[in-house]
Structures are given as structure tokens and as C-alpha cells.
Amino acid sequence: MNELLKGNFQTKNQVTDSPAKEETLEDRFEREAKKRLGGSIAYVSKKKVMWDLKNEKK
């Protein structure tokens, strides 16, 4: 067993490490460009109005 998991058990399958992908300049540019495609404000599924914290309504 390698050093990824430490415990008093044996893992059934071999656990391997996959190094985190480093963000490239291109990735960062894409992320920033995507961000500017967003809408005006949020949408929350299956919700209407919450009038206050005392009398909560869907």
C-alpha cells in the first residue's frame, strides 16, 4: 500500500495518484471568457419567493 491512504485497513483496489492538472494560460483565458457569457442574475430551480425568515414559503 502506498502513502495515499493511511488506516487500519487494506484497500480492495490499487489506489493511484493522479497529479492535479495545472491550469494553462489558455484554460484561464477560456474561463474568463466563459464567465462573461453569464446571465444577469441567478436562477434557482423550484423556488418562488421567500417572504421572510419567519413565514417561509416555497
Binding site: A33, K34, K35, I41, K47, D52, L53
Partner: protein, 353 residues
Amino acid sequence: MTSPGGPPVRSSRADAGKIGRALVEELGPLTWDRHGPMAVANAERNQQLLRHGRSIAELRGTSIGRRDSAIVMATGPSIARRDPIAQIKSSGYDGALIAVDSAFGYCLRNGVIPDLVVTVDPHPTRIVRWFGDPALMQASPGDDDYFRRQDLDPRHADELRANREMLDLTSRHAKGVRIALSTSASEAVVRRVVDLGMDIYWWNPMHDDPDLPDSVSRRLIEMNGMPCINAGGNVGSASWMIADAVLGKRSVALVGFDFSYYADTPHSRTQYYREAIDLVGEENLDDVFMWVHNPYLDQWFYADPAYMWYRAALLDMARDADCETVNCTEGGIVFGDSIRFAPLSDFLAAERA
């Protein structure tokens, strides 16, 4: 294939929009990244200005308009082509007229004072234009060409002239007009609305599920005590939600809800043109825009990812609504099992009967 800056020319419309369809799935988080922190910061700053208005809860159950119906007016490109206000005026419709911020000028120019104006977008400089921006008189329009390109209100292409007109119209007519003012509104919008003497009703846009632990929405309610309303991604859908859930209207007609562009609109006149080019390059724009056939009109329209997201959200919200929703835009892509598509004349005739 795309002609640079010109109308889309792809032959197979069904094949277009591959990237756009994937982006629609990401629009929730992308919208938070784009505007969420800004909206919350605005709400925190607006805390000290709440005294200039009241809670939108005070509109609950009040009789705005003489009917249990409302017309919600947005400013999609159909407004310029169909001019719905002429029909509304000539019909003598006396139900509630709710205008999104960008439709305020269209109403005022046509001699109509809406019963309620709604604003929500937190953008720091753009939204105030719909009320007239006093700061723009001393400055050049600058690098942001949004208004010079946009198709919401062609008059705003001449920015300084349009702004002078809005300053004049609002200074003469906006005083006392009700506005559902989101706490997310920018400092410029709030300052302008307060200076104009509009009748302010505050509300929080719902940023996330308030029932979740560490909810941003819940924190806003705790901070300012204002109701939290699901805005559906944009000011048009927020206005519809207010008609349904706050004013309790039983029948709500939509005009100017295109959520799309006419087929002959050049890509360069679309809302996210520059952003789309940055993402995929001009030669791949057809992969961002999606085509939808409107069977009621037998006409094609195309949409960017945000519009497709707005459409899906509004259809979803309308399924849970207490009101009947009738889309009288006579253009665009907003139709489905929960929203009936009909001519505005039919809605107005039914209201007269």
C-alpha cells in the same frame, strides 16, 4: 460558416450551436461568477439606502391595475418590429403594465406610465442608461460598445442623444412611478432612482436555495429583511415572477420576450458578440449560437447560451406558477407546455370580453 460580422449563413441550422448547448448547462455557475459577488457587494452598500423605499412585501395583495391580469413588457427585438404599445394603448387595456428597466423609455416615449418598473442587473455602468445617466453627459461613451451594438432599443445606438432623451423623459415623468428595485442594483441606478423620486420597493434576488446551510440568499434576508425573489436569470423573468407571486395576477401576458434574435440579425448585433469571439473566435461563432424553429410563426430564430438558459428557466418557473402565462411577443422562442403562444390582439380581446 460565418460571414464576418454579418448574418449567419450556416446551411444546417440543426447542427449549429454545439458549444452553445454545452455552455447552457454551465450558465448557473457562470452567472454567479459574472455577477454574484457584485450583486452581494451592491446589496451591502445599498443597506444604508433602504430608508428611501419600502419592502416589496407591501405590494402583496395591492390592486395594481383594474384587472387580475398584467402585461409584462421586455425589450426584445420584436418591440421595434411589432410595436406592441400601440395595440395596448388603442385597446384601452386597464390591467397592470409592468415594464423591465430597458422598456421604461419605450413606454414614456409613447406616453405610457407603467404601473411598475423592475430592475435587477448589478452591472455598474450599463443599467443606469435605462433611466438616463447624468454622468454620461460629461464623458465620452468609452470603450464599452454594448449600447452602440445592442438590439434592445435601437435608439441607444446614438448613446449621448439617447441618454439626453432618457434624462429628459425620466426627469419629467418618473417621479412617483413604482419601481421594484433589487438590492443588487448598482450605486448609479439606486442614486438615479432616488434622485428621480421614484416609489421604491426593495427586494433581494434569490442567489441560491435559501434552505441550504450558508445560503447567500438567506444571509441577505437576515441582513436587510427584504423578501427574496427568484429572478429566473434576468429582469424579464423577474418581472413575470413579481406579477405572479407578488401581485397575484391570474393571467400574465408577455411582450418583447424574444430571448433570441431574428434570422437576419448580424452576429455583431447580438448581446454577447465580443465575449463569444473571445471564447471561440469569429470563424466558429456558429458553434455558439443555437437555432430554434417557432412553429406558430413558421420562422427560425437564433439564441446565445444565456437566452437559451433564460428560456428554459422561464418555462420551468411557469410550470409552478399560479397564473396562466401567455406569450404575446409574436416572435422569438419562448413557448412550451407551460407558456401559451398567442397574438397580443387575442389576449387584449379576451380582456375586453
